[in-house]
Symmetry: C2
């Protein structure tokens, strides 16, 4: 028996990950009771973000410009390319390690049963970057899941076809774990002790 | 090194209760990756809600109309008035009990140290409703916290001054517990076995 608009808002909040009916309700009441000005600002930013933010032409990370800030930067080491599954994974590596190279963001991992193949992950574009000759090491930072490993295997083969050395984060990652949720220390250690992929 | 707009969105999401830096980041990536259309809809509803939703003139609950749907309804028992601290508490009682009377929503509880007195809770308006003579029972459903009890004490005195019988939810509520989070069974039982407030 709440106001219809309020019901709609509560339902809409549930698109956010981890938000169930109870917390959606609490969120709606909270912003109406205490924080209307900042809620209006959130609404404006959300509308603008989904409108404006696209993909970086070079690394496929989220970007409001054709090239993201990392790819634009003149201070990055262009001979190392680190492949990650998601923007969150890229951010985790950026924050946990001293890596100063470039990235490639898959936004997913190979999963033939779900119709996600090399094309969906932009691997043709990755192949072109590898072919260009600037990259000497492809650091494969996909997650330690079955699909992440299959993706890593595919990427290692792709790198070798272009004469690029593939490496894989050390198996300090907890097995089956999502890279994004690994603690900084573990992630930093695994990144530092990455190994060449044996033939 | 994310796009500035994305950083702003992640920061803005933290106004939502229970959302820390990590989950704000996950939410932003999630809507950008998977659900832009529904995220735009959420942005629209949020902007409209904070603009349009005010307070019901009669019960002070959230409402986009001058009178909320409960107060407008001809099917409610107008001799019973239930006082709750928040819209969430009102909804919890509505869903857990068979109560068919009307409500009064304090949006808070007496807390002199925080500058929250009878005026901030609209108790003058409540006094006018009690004085109008239509109400025979004031059901006090404030929470079982120290401030909730102090508020209940004040409300009971206010009711008696207007010749209205105050009652209080039975002490089946867990002590110190927030009413909103009580399970339905406990809440329903406590509501059903409410007792007259002894003099
Ligand atoms: Zn980029
Ligand atoms: Zn009302």
């Amino acid at each position: 028996m709440s106001a219809p608009l309020l019901d709609q808002l509560i339902a809409a909040l549930r698109i956010l990950p981890g938000v169930g009916p109870k917390s959606a309700q609490r969120m709606a009441y909270h912003v109406l009771e205490r924080d209307r000005e900042r809620a209006a600002e959130l609404a404006r930013l959300l509308a603008e973000a989904v409108e404006v933010i696209g993909r970086c032409e070079s690394c496929r990370d989220f970007s409001q410009d054709p090239l993201c800030r990392v790819c634009q930067s003149s201070g990055r080491e262009r001979s190392q390319l680190c492949v990650v599954e998601s923007p969150a994974d890229r951010l985790a590596i950026e924050q946990a390690t001293g890596f100063r190279g470039l990235y490639f963001v898959l936004l997913g991992r190979l999963s033939p049963l779900d119709g996600i193949g090399p094309q969906e992950l932009g691997l043709e574009h990755l192949g072109q970057r590898l072919a260009a000759g600037e990259i000497s090491e492809l650091i494969i930072a996909t997650s330690a899941t079955v699909e992440g490993e299959a993706t890593a295997h595919y990427l290692a083969q792709l790198a070798r076809r272009h004469g690029v050395q593939p490496s894989r984060l050390a198996q300090g990652l907890p097995l089956g774990g999502e890279l994004e949720y690994v603690d900084r220390g573990t992630l930093s250690h695994a990144f530092g002790s990455r190994a060449e992929v044996p033939r």
